[in-house]
C-alpha cells in the first residue's frame, strides 16, 4: 500500500493559483523528491496532506487514511519539518522534543538524545540563543524524535553546513533502510539527486513529471562532446566549420558550444588536452543518426553524458521539455 496517494488533488485560493490535479504515489521505504521553484505549489501540497489546508478537489490519502477525516492519526505517524522552521523562542530544545513526544503519548527521550549527538546540537539551549543552523538542527531532532513512519521534509538542509548536510543525508538513508518513507521537498537539486529514488517536478501548481531520477536524467536529452582531427570527415562540411559535418541538420540536435583548443574532459590520443576542433551538442531522442554521422567524420574522441537533475529541472522550467502535464506518471 502506498504511503502517500493523491488523485487529482487540487487547491484553489479563489483568484490565486494553488495546485491542480496533482496525482502522486509515494511507496513505503522510498525517498521521494518534490521539486519546484518558489510558489510552484510544493508547500501547498504538503499542507493539504497534513490537513492544514482544505482541498477543493481530488482525493488524498496518507497511510491509506483520508486527509480530511483522519488528520490527527496521520500527523501522529508523520514527522514534518517545515521550510525554515520557526520555533518558540522561549523554549529549550528539550521542551520542543518533549512537546512533540507528549502529543503522541510518548516520553522516551533516547532517540532525540542520539539524534542530537549526531547532529551536534545542545538541546539544553533556548531557541532564541541559537543560530539559524542550530535552530534547524533542533527542528530536525524534534521532527525525528518520535520515530515517525513518514518524514515530510521541506528544505531540510537550509542553514546547515556541508558536514551536517552529510549527516542528515546519512540519517535519511538509514531511516529508509528501516522501512520509513521520506517525502523531500527541496531546491537543492544535488541533494535530491543523491538521495531520492524518484522525483516529481511541479510547475505552476501542476505536476509535470514523476519519474525515477535515473530515468529522468536519461530520457530527455544527452550532452555529446566530440573532438575532431584536422582532416575533414566525409559527412559534408559547411563554410567555417573546419570541415566538420553539419550535425545541426539532424532532428533533435542542438548546438551548445563549439570551438578549437582543449575541450573539457576530451583528451587526444596522447593523453593531452585536445588541441583540435570540438563541438558540444544537446541531443533529444535517438542518438543513432548523430553517431552515424560522427563515425563518418574525423572524430577523435567522444563523450556522451546524461544531464544532471538540474539540467532536467531547468529544461522543464524553460518550457521546452515537451513533457505531458498532470496525471500520475510512475
Amino acid at each position: 500500500m502506498a504511503v502517500i496517494a493523491t488523485v487529482k488533488l487540487s487547491k484553489s485560493y479563489g483568484r490565486q493559483r494553488g495546485i491542480e490535479d496533482v496525482t502522486l504515489t509515494v511507496e513505503k521505504g522510498e525517498i521521494f523528491g518534490f521539486l519546484g521553484p518558489n510558489g510552484a505549489g510544493k508547500t501547498t501540497t504538503i499542507r493539504l496532506l497534513l490537513g492544514m489546508l482544505l482541498r477543493t478537489g481530488g482525493t488524498a490519502h496518507v497511510f491509506g487514511l483520508n486527509v480530511d477525516r483522519d488528520t490527527l492519526a496521520i500527523r501522529a505517524r508523520t514527522g514534518y519539518l517545515p521550510s525554515d522552521a520557526s520555533l518558540y523562542p522561549h523554549l529549550r530544545g528539550w521542551d520542543l522534543v518533549d512537546f512533540v513526544l507528549a502529543t503522541r503519548g510518548l516520553r522516551d527521550r533516547s532517540r532525540a538524545r542520539s539524534l542530537a549527538g549526531r547532529l551536534g546540537v545542545d538541546l539544553g539551549l533556548r531557541v532564541k540563543q541559537c543560530s539559524r543552523g542550530m535552530r534547524q538542527k533542533i527542528a530536525i531532532v524534534a521532527t525525528l524524535a518520535h520515530d515517525p513512519e513518514l518524514l515530510v521534509l521541506d528544505e531540510p538542509s537550509t542553514g546547515l553546513d556541508p558536514l551536517v548536510q552529510h549527516v542528515l543525508a546519512d540519517l535519511l538513508r538509514e531511516e529508509t533502510a528501516r522501512g520509513k518513507t521520506v517525502f523531500l521537498s527541496s531546491h537543492n537539486l544535488a541533494e535530491v539527486e543523491s538521495l531520492c529514488n524518484r522525483v516529481a517536478i511541479i510547475r505552476e501548481g501542476v505536476v509535470v513529471k514523476v519519474d525515477e531520477v535515473s530515468s529522468l536524467r536519461g530520457m530527455h536529452f544527452k550532452t555529446v562532446t566530440a573532438r575532431f582531427g584536422t582532416a575533414a570527415g566525409s559527412g559534408g562540411g559547411e563554410p567555417g566549420s573546419g570541415g566538420r559535418p553539419n550535425f545541426l541538420t539532424i532532428p533533435g540536435v542542438r548546438l551548445v558550444e563549439n570551438g578549437s583548443g582543449p575541450a573539457a574532459g576530451v583528451r587526444d590520443h596522447a593523453g593531452g588536452a585536445a588541441q583540435s576542433g570540438w563541438i558540444t551538442l544537446k541531443v533529444t531522442g535517438d542518438l543513432r543518426p548523430l553517431l552515424e554521422r560522427l563515425a563518418s567524420s574525423s572524430l577523435q574522441d567522444l563523450r556522451v553524458e546524461d544531464p544532471t537533475l538540474e539540467e532536467v529541472f531547468m529544461q522543464f522550467y524553460s518550457g521546452d521539455s515537451g513533457a505531458g502535464v498532470g496525471g500520475e506518471q510512475r
Binding site: 490527527l72 507528549a102 524534534a142
Partner: protein
C-alpha cells in the same frame, strides 16, 4: 482517554508557560493598583466634602463613566468609583493581548506550522488555551479582590467579602464574554497586530457604548445589546438582585461566541 488527557495537559502546560510571565506582571500591577486605591480611602476621610460635591455636580454622562450615582463616603462607593468601574476595561486590555496570541500570534511568528504538524485538533488547541485564559483572568480578578481586601483592612475599614466577590465574579464573566467575541473575530484576522488592535478597539467601543447608553438612561437597550451592560458595579455593590440572571446571560454569550469561533476555525484554511 489517557492520551487525550495527556495531549490537553501538554497544550495547557505549554500555553501556561508562555503566558506566566505576562500574568505575573499584570497580577503585580493590578494587586498594587487595587491595594493603593483601597488604602487611599483613608486619606479622603477628612476632606470628603469637596470631593462629594464635585462628584454630585458632575454631568450625568460623567457620572455614568465613574459608576453612576455616587456615594464616595462609604468604602463600597469609593471602591465602585475608583476601582470596580474600570476593572473590566483594564481586564479587557489584557484579554485583547492574550486572545490575539491564541491563533494570530502563532501564524505571524511562524510557529503555527510546527504546532499544527502535531496531532492536536484545532478545537482542542483553541479550547484549551481559552480555558487557560479563563484561569489567568480569574487569577487577575482574585488578585484585585485580594489587593482591595488587604488595602481596606490596612486602614481598619471593612467591606463585605461576599459583596466584593460577587462584583468581581460578574466582572470576570463580562470580560470572558468579550474574550470569546474577540476570539471569534481573531479567526478571521490572521495578522497579530491587526487582531490586537481590533480587539482593543472592539472592547473599548463596547465599554464606551455601555457608558454612553447608561448615561442616556437606556438601560433596557444597554442590557440587551452590550456585554458590559450586564456588569453594573453600582447595583452589584448594593444588592444581589439579578446577579444570577446577568451571570447566566454572560456565560451563555461566552459559550455561543466560543462555539462559533471553534466551529469556524475548524473549517478554515490555516493561512500560514
Amino acid at each position: 482517554m489517557k492520551l487525550t488527557f495527556m495531549k490537553t495537559l501538554t497544550v495547557f502546560r505549554n500555553y501556561w508557560r508562555a503566558e506566566r510571565g505576562a500574568l505575573v506582571g499584570w497580577a503585580v500591577g493590578l494587586a498594587a493598583y487595587a491595594y493603593y486605591i483601597s488604602a487611599f480611602y483613608k486619606s479622603t476621610e477628612h476632606d470628603w466634602q469637596p470631593l462629594l460635591e464635585y462628584l454630585n455636580h458632575m454631568p450625568a454622562g460623567l457620572k455614568a463613566l465613574v459608576g453612576g450615582e455616587l456615594s464616595s463616603r462609604t468604602v463600597a462607593g469609593w471602591l465602585r468609583l475608583e476601582l470596580l468601574s474600570y476593572l473590566p476595561m483594564l481586564a479587557s486590555i489584557y484579554v485583547s493581548i492574550v486572545v490575539a496570541g491564541i491563533i494570530s500570534k502563532e501564524i505571524e511568528r511562524g510557529t503555527a506550522e510546527f504546532l499544527f504538524a502535531q496531532p492536536i485538533s484545532r478545537a482542542r488547541l483553541v479550547l484549551t488555551r481559552f480555558v487557560g485564559l479563563a484561569l489567568n483572568l480569574a487569577i487577575l480578578h482574585l488578585v484585585v479582590f485580594g489587593g482591595a481586601w488587604v488595602g481596606i483592612a490596612s486602614i481598619g475599614e471593612e467591606f463585605p467579602a461576599w459583596v466584593a466577590l460577587r462584583t468581581v465574579s460578574v466582572a470576570w464573566l463580562a470580560v470572558m464574554a468579550v474574550a470569546a467575541l474577540l476570539l471569534l473575530i481573531s479567526v478571521f484576522v490572521p495578522d497579530y497586530t491587526r487582531t490586537l488592535f481590533t480587539g482593543l478597539g472592539v472592547s473599548t467601543a463596547l465599554y464606551v457604548l455601555t457608558v454612553a447608553l447608561r448615561a442616556s438612561g437606556r438601560e433596557n437597550a444597554l442590557t440587551a445589546w452590550t456585554i458590559f451592560g450586564h456588569y453594573d458595579p453600582a447595583k452589584l455593590v448594593e444588592s444581589a438582585s439579578g446577579v444570577w440572571e446577568h451571570a447566566a446571560i454572560l456565560a451563555a454569550t461566552t459559550i455561543v461566541f466560543l462555539t462559533a469561533a471553534v466551529l469556524i476555525f475548524r473549517r478554515r484554511d490555516l493561512r500560514l
